[in-house]
């Protein structure tokens, strides 16, 4: 039995894997965001790395000297409207990062979009669907990317076989595929 502490697919280990840009480099992505006046959307399906990319983008922007504020919304975690208002109305940030913007009511998102534009603030969001903001980047996964992540987490090859089958079973959702690898490893 592999315990949680030793399972290479435990969540704390997965969180240590940072976004691996597939279609452009970090400098290219940051340049694209600059030309978009720091307003854009990271679009992609579940488990394609949108949240990880947004977190890493926040770090890169901070390194450039830009102050970011973050709001994380999921279907399970609702952020109280007053917290959203406080974040949007604060004067001490350059770029507002919203993970899961498509979970917001369209009217609420419209207000955020308007207020940040009026205040000349950046706004970068993640969303499953396009058209909330101009698309900065579309996140995709691939069997190769999944293999790369698995190799990073379990370099000794101490992971279940049929990695590609697990990837396809979860239709490219890397988060869910890694959860299955956790279970398969735990059973060993």
């Amino acid at each position: 039995m592999t315990t949680a502490r030793h399972n290479p697919f435990a969540m704390h280990r997965i969180h240590s894997i940072r976004y691996m840009p597939q279609t452009c480099t970090w400098p290219e992505l940051l340049e694209r965001l600059r030309t978009m006046e720091y307003r854009g959307a990271i679009v992609g399906p579940e488990g394609s790395g949108k949240t990880t990319l947004l977190e890493d983008l926040g770090r890169h922007l901070a390194e450039e000297g830009r102050t970011c504020r973050s709001i994380f919304i999921t279907l399970d975690v609702k952020v109280p409207p007053r917290e959203i208002r406080a974040a949007v109305n604060a004067a001490d940030y350059d770029v507002l990062l919203i993970d899961g913007a498509d979970h917001l009511h369209p009217l609420v998102f419209g207000i955020i979009k308007h207020k940040t534009a009026r205040g000349r603030k950046g706004l970068v969001i993640t969303s499953h669907r396009p058209n909330l903001l101009p698309t900065l980047i579309e996140c995709h996964t691939s069997p190769d990317l999944f293999g790369q992540i698995v190799e990073t987490l379990a370099p000794s090859g101490d992971c279940p076989e049929n990695i590609a089958a697990v990837y396809h079973k979860h239709k490219g959702n890397i988060r869910d595929a890694l959860r299955e690898l956790y279970d398969l490893t735990a059973l060993k």
Binding site: M1, T2, T3, A4, R5, N7, F9, A10, M11, H12, R179, Y182, D183, A186
Partner: protein
């Protein structure tokens, strides 16, 4: 201890304790610049399949820390939760010293349980 280090040591190097016991020791640091603050936290956290959980049970702020120094600490451990390890989740107790600026930290894992051993959660046997 090499340059810019922080070290947590418990008295007699005891790291396996029972709930309610006193945990005492010292924190020694040797930093490249004078720290703004140093906090020592008694905490537990989980690792496993799901998102981690964390609880800070007690903490000490070392006032006016110098660049090189050793300070004593003492905590009374609470009644729980116990340290345990299973397939889905593990609960780990630790002392964590956090140095500001730069968010540097050092962690020393401890075990808190009535037997002074991590409790092993066994998988149910098939019928």
């Amino acid at each position: 201890m090499s340059m810019s280090e922080i070290e947590i040591r418990t008295d007699n190097d005891v790291t396996r304790l029972a709930p309610g016991e006193i945990l005492a020791g010292s924190v020694r640091w040797n930093l490249l610049e004078p720290p703004r603050s140093i906090d020592l936290r008694l905490m537990w956290y989980t690792q496993g399949k799901g998102d981690g959980d964390v609880g800070v049970v007690d903490s000490i702020t070392f006032d006016n820390p110098a660049q090189y120094e050793t300070r004593r600490f003492q905590f009374q451990l609470p009644n729980g939760p116990y340290s345990f390890s299973g397939k889905l989740i593990a609960l780990i107790w630790a002392l964590e010293a956090v140095v500001q600026p730069r968010d540097r930290f050092e962690r020393l894992e401890i075990v808190v349980s009535p037997t002074r051993r991590e409790i092993a959660l066994l998988a149910p046997q098939p019928q």
